[in-house]
């Protein structure tokens, strides 16, 4: 059975890729299995300079999920290009760089920095960061800001740009349309849902950062709903994510309209989750009567926009 699928910049052997921030730069997982099995790898966020991130504790367990407030810790875009990407180039797997920043200028600079490497095949624009210039409003919750940062990044990027949508919005379709208007080549969705846990003994929020991003199966219904809604109105390819732990979950995302998927938090529960899902996917597709991955995409809709690859 064919698991292949072609998205802008990405020739995927299969639609499964680890999500940004849950797989580092692949080194640790490369000790566990051959990374060339993966459809692609989305690496940890890159900012202009190295960032230490938030204070610890940075993670908390929640019902069917977890909260994280890592705070974009990363060695900076240049160190990533020099020290991490060459290692990943040893594997036969497309790499998606995750780009973050606090100002439009930072996004643009990180994107420009990446143009000097041929070791990435696409970029994922993480617009869930607060915009320091706009007083901390998130790029990802204000359509006009999202459109603007997409447009500016597209001007300098040498690879297709996927914009990663935040679920913390009243109207996800408006956000998708805004980044489409900004020239996005694709969407990835969803990022984490902002949440909090209290530490009753300490009488304060458990995470040092107070709030954190909720991920895992708890948010899967939110992700499916948002992908379904966006697919009704927007024709861009979608890489879906949010709570995937099994091949059945992947099928649910494909039916909702995702063209491929990313697996985040589940890597912590089972570090082999990505190859496990890749192995089980053909059986699950067959069980439900699908002949290939592409055959299942969007089939949960009566009428919907479809992404038609430009081949």
């Amino acid at each position: 059975m064919s698991l292949q699928t072609v998205l802008p910049g990405l020739q995927l052997k299969n639609p499964i890729m680890p999500a940004s921030g849950c797989f580092g730069f692949g080194r640790e997982f490369s000790d566990l299995y051959d990374l060339s099995q993966l459809g692609a790898i989305i690496i940890k966020a890159a900012t202009k300079e190295a960032r230490y991130g938030n204070q610890t504790p940075r993670v908390a367990e929640t019902a069917a999920g977890m909260l994280n407030a890592i705070g974009l810790q990363n060695p900076g875009v240049n160190a990533i290009i020099d020290n991490e990407l060459p290692f990943l180039a040893n594997y036969d797997v497309p790499i998606v760089a995750n780009v973050a920043g606090s100002t439009v200028e930072e996004y643009v600079e990180v994107t420009r920095a990446f143009t000097r490497t041929s070791n990435i095949q696409a970029m994922e624009l993480n617009i869930s960061c607060p915009n320091v210039k706009e007083g901390g409003i998130q790029f990802g919750t204000e359509p006009s800001l999202a459109k603007e940062v997409t447009r500016r990044v597209k001007e300098v990027s040498h690879v297709p740009v996927y914009v990663k949508l935040s679920p913390n919005v009243s109207n996800i379709v408006a956000m998708a349309k805004a980044v489409e208007a900004g020239g996005a080549d694709g969407l990835t969705m969803i990022n984490t849902v902002t949440g909090m846990q209290m530490n009753a003994a300490a009488r304060k929020p458990l995470l040092a950062n107070k709030t954190g991003g909720l991920s895992g199966p708890a948010i899967k219904p939110i992700a499916i709903r948002m992908i379904y809604e966006v697919r009704q109105h927007v024709g861009l390819p979608i890489i879906g994510m949010g709570g995937i732990v099994s091949a059945e979950d992947v099928l649910e995302f494909l039916l909702a309209g995702a063209n491929a998927v990313a697996v985040g938090t589940a890597n912590f529960h089972n570090p082999f989750v990505c190859p496990d899902i890749i192995n089980q996917l053909p059986t699950v597709l067959e069980k439900y009567g699908f002949a290939s991955v592409e055959d299942a995409v969007g089939k949960g809709h009566e009428n919907a926009n479809t992404y038609l690859p430009r081949t």
Partner: protein, 257 residues
Amino acid sequence: MINKLDLTVVTRQSIARDTVELTLHGFKDINQIKPGQFIHINVGSESNHMLRRPISIADVDQTTGTIVIIFKIIGAGTDLLSKVSVGERLDVLIPCGTGYPIDQISVNHALVIGGGIGVPPLYYLAKQLVARGVRVTSIIGFQTKDAVFYESNFAQLGDCYVVTDDGSYGHKGYVTSIIDKYSIDYFDYFFSCGPTGMLRAVSNQLQDHNGFISIEQRMGCGIGACYACVVPTNDDTNGFKKICKDGPVFRANEVVI
């Protein structure tokens, strides 16, 4: 290299209040294990417990091919773990982290200082030191009498002082008071594991000595990929270490605690 394995529970025993000891079988390369390393245990489904629980390796038995872990029931995960039956299998990542570098240092007399659930990893450490001909003095601290465990195990390896916060058993006070009281300064390395407050007090008091400490933090992946468990280094480089991979053992004063 870290392995994901199903280990079989061989024995299960309550050894102190809310404290359970499990013997686990099924990891072939147990001679690879360094004292101070831990296993990262799956305690339930993704719905029940998304995150694994890190628990130190407390002992390794080369003859039976088993390892021992000792943990305290403090929340839902350790509670579930305490209910495994003999014969059941536990999904673990093993061995995780970087242990005490006992083969890279030259030591004659070691002072081992443990507090509460920081005591377990020090037992395998002490055994390994003794096996290398090192003299071991240990100070192990607990909250109260009911919580004390492994006193005789440590006593078999050398001098062992037990302290309890409330004085209900052994000496009353903190592990640091023993060091003062008995003027323990004849060791060349100290090795400590326990609550952060204790590690700070020990590191302060013994700042003129060489030593190693083992620290805890809430973890995500447990293998170095997610940056959940970082700790800043104690120098001017703005650097950091990952407790799950570079640690949990660090040189005293190597990281900010």
